[in-house]
Symmetry: C2
Subunit: 332 residues, 2 copies
Amino acid sequence: MTTNRTIRLKARPSGMVGPEHFDFAEEAMPVAGDGELLVKTGFISLDPAMRGWLNEGKSYIPPVGIGEVMRAGTVGEVVASNADGFAPGDWVAGIWGVQTYAAVAAKDVHKIDTGLAPPERWLGALGMPGMTAYFGILDVGALKDGETVVVSAAAGAVGGLVGQIAKVKGCHVVGIAGGAEKCSYVVNELGFDACVDYKEDGVLKALATACPKGVDVYFDNVGGPILEAAMTLLRRGARVVICGAISGYNDFSKIQGPRNYLNLLVQRARMEGFVVFDYEARYGEAIRDIAGWLQSGKVKAKEDIQHGIERFPEVLQMLFKGENFGKLILKP
Amino acid sequence: MTTNRTIRLKARPSGMVGPEHFDFAEEAMPVAGDGELLVKTGFISLDPAMRGWLNEGKSYIPPVGIGEVMRAGTVGEVVASNADGFAPGDWVAGIWGVQTYAAVAAKDVHKIDTGLAPPERWLGALGMPGMTAYFGILDVGALKDGETVVVSAAAGAVGGLVGQIAKVKGCHVVGIAGGAEKCSYVVNELGFDACVDYKEDGVLKALATACPKGVDVYFDNVGGPILEAAMTLLRRGARVVICGAISGYNDFSKIQGPRNYLNLLVQRARMEGFVVFDYEARYGEAIRDIAGWLQSGKVKAKEDIQHGIERFPEVLQMLFKGENFGKLILKP
């Protein structure tokens, strides 16, 4: 046996999160109690929502406590089992955080089928980002065939899937991403109809050109001026799906609401937020559909796998700097 | 016969609308052509939306043209008829604008039953404000029994009805209005459970106290900091109905979006705009319900009737200064 290597929250960031807010430690191996499993972490998910979990105060889940292991979605292999129905060698998914081993209650994890997709994909297309994309665009966005869909952070884990699902549903799909390389990937690899580079001038004009009929569904991961640009182009009866606002996560005091929100009135449109956990009872439906699309090649999954648990803080920063390409994952 | 007195748009305002933007004139009497009626204007409706009609550019209806009679909802008496089904003495409602007489196509007006309610009420509780309140709170707001409803401009034509309809539906209803006199009217005359004076300090705290369970439906007529305060208190699954934003109508450049719009995500809430004209096919349903509530005393209507067509510009300003009390109407 070896030690458990952990990343614990040391201090709450007030601006950009960085290495100064975390402690890396080597600790004693955890021991699985009754009904628990000892799992070895295979892959750790890095998500924009993590930044929100570091802030004090009420949100949709409690913040990570100072001194606690950093919360993260995880997949791993069962090393020892004190619970019925689980055996060493099983792969499970859970939220046991940024550590190389964990003792977790069997009720807090679920088995994943590594025959259907490799383990890391259960943190991406078949994990939270996949569930978020699926229910966000189909349920909250109430997508209809042939509509025009715009999605920001289109080269990211959620955005890339949202657009691909919309293509499966016969929509005209336009991404927004940062830089020529990402835009090329979004169009040529993921099959979007167009992609607007938000780092270039004239985002609104480029978006208007790419959406000649206007925008029926805008799926927002970023907030800020990009949200405003998309809202300028809403069509009658449009839906704006608020999934996140990564541009503001490191400084909530700078978040602006969309100044053109009255376009919701002019266009009889709605803006709606959601939290994927509310759809837990329906995850099976999403996994079945997405796995089918992956197998038939209609949807592609891409993971950006970084290595070394001690690099967690800098890898997390990649998300907020827009440096990742596909689903960002840490292999400890 | 006499002359037709008119108010025509002289110049587009860039800030607060005022007398300098209109011309008052005495003109020749209009003549009713085939299929038309000559009507004598009984009452003219003054509405916040008028400010939007003065701006150049695309909106839900075209702007009023320079030199045109100012658009306004109107009721009046038929003086001469060249159309089947209409006779002198009939009362009709239409949108023939700020003038004492008009020749209007019979297809552009509808008869009103002055036995059911006096003519001016067909510009208020049984007119556009009534339709706006009814479909806004029941249809867009998707009101459910026992919910907590907050409405701004609660002493105004739409707000006062929204709250009273919500009371009919068994809700806990809190108004927001300017000044002690209006707040007293909203609670004591209209029967709201509470009313917060936005001219006092501590609006958010007062609103939180008045809504101990939080806010299920917020019906917004004003925008700005009041919208933000209400959005801070949203409950899970809340609906924000965007009816207007009078605080910004005279200077669109100053409109801010709600900085806390991400609360839509945390609370799985939605913000939705609407335009009452979309409900035209269902106006009969609303008139039937509202007339019934008026007759049974469950809902009270109040009109603030000003006199003199030449005073139109200053009376219009009363709306934006919050000086009216109930539905603002001009008797020419």
